[in-house]
Symmetry: C2
Subunit: 181 residues, 2 copies
Amino acid sequence: MRLSLTAKLHNMNEDKNLAAARLTLDTYLKERRMRRTPERYAILEKVFSTDAHFYIDALHEVLTLEGHRMSLSTVYAAIQLFLEAGLVRRHQFGNQPAQYERVVAGEMENHHHLVCTSCGRVRAVKDAELMHQLSNLHYPTFKTQFFSLYVYGLCAWCQKRLKKQNAEAAAAAAAKSDKKK
Amino acid sequence: MRLSLTAKLHNMNEDKNLAAARLTLDTYLKERRMRRTPERYAILEKVFSTDAHFYIDALHEVLTLEGHRMSLSTVYAAIQLFLEAGLVRRHQFGNQPAQYERVVAGEMENHHHLVCTSCGRVRAVKDAELMHQLSNLHYPTFKTQFFSLYVYGLCAWCQKRLKKQNAEAAAAAAAKSDKKK
DNA sequence: CTTAGTGCAAAACCTTTGCAGGTTG
DNA sequence: CAACCTGCAAAGGTTTTGCACTAAG
């Protein structure tokens, strides 16, 4: 199978990211004399196999389907650990279950999020200049680690949906007041 | 009792904000033929009595203490309604319970948040220029309503605490390896 | 009067925890 | 071989829901 150049570069970066993450985890665990269990590394590998957001239960499900046998609590514990090691970031929108996202080796944010206030869907947006500016925010007595910018609003799909819904509601209301008369 | 000029101005603004919010709620409820119950207005009044973040259960407790009799689910339902009407904003940090914040009449954000990744405490920061810039972010097909910027890091208190803790851990580790020898 | 809103209690949900047994260092 | 991690089941805490009753339009 031949891969395109961009695909090759992509894969190379993936591998590099994963390798770096493994190293970070190694160091983190050794420093704290914690154990380097196969579960933790399997979870790490899966987490770094994509830059998309993921849910804990979906992550567990995928791992299970792929033949790893581990319990949901192990996944929760590992993600908690990764969070403390700075390997993942946690997001929570509305009161959906928490979403997580890998953190690529020490690099500051390179994107922010558009969140639909109606359906809850999240889209990532890249804006290098803005990200650069935000990563230079500093405050006395506060040691900045990272930041999150969420822009809330209506996605294209929900704009359409709500417009239709409102039209229907208006029609229903009109019918009702006609009936009264 | 005499009030300072700034206190007077403050109160005037509070009153204006509350009045505007009441009007918004009136309109919102009428449009949808929903009922204007005393509970909803009592909750609205409390929500607009401060610009601080609040928790649902604390809000319910305060209302109860002040003689309003209403159940927790009513408060949840009302806040959900306010959320849809754009009268409050929801925030969620770590997996603490959700925090809410009133939205002052159509005005865009005027502050952002510093969140301590260790203790979870949140501090509001005003930066007019930055807020103005962020409120001008626009995207095709996405109808922006508002935004939230969170800067995560360590608060002064946790920086101190963790430093001390690490020193202790190092000492303990040293003692342990001494013992082995 | 009709329907929506409230109150109460119970459910649902995600996440954490306690404990027994197995694995890592 | 000691300590820590995993797995399981059960608890925890917030938010939602079902149902009967009350009140708003």
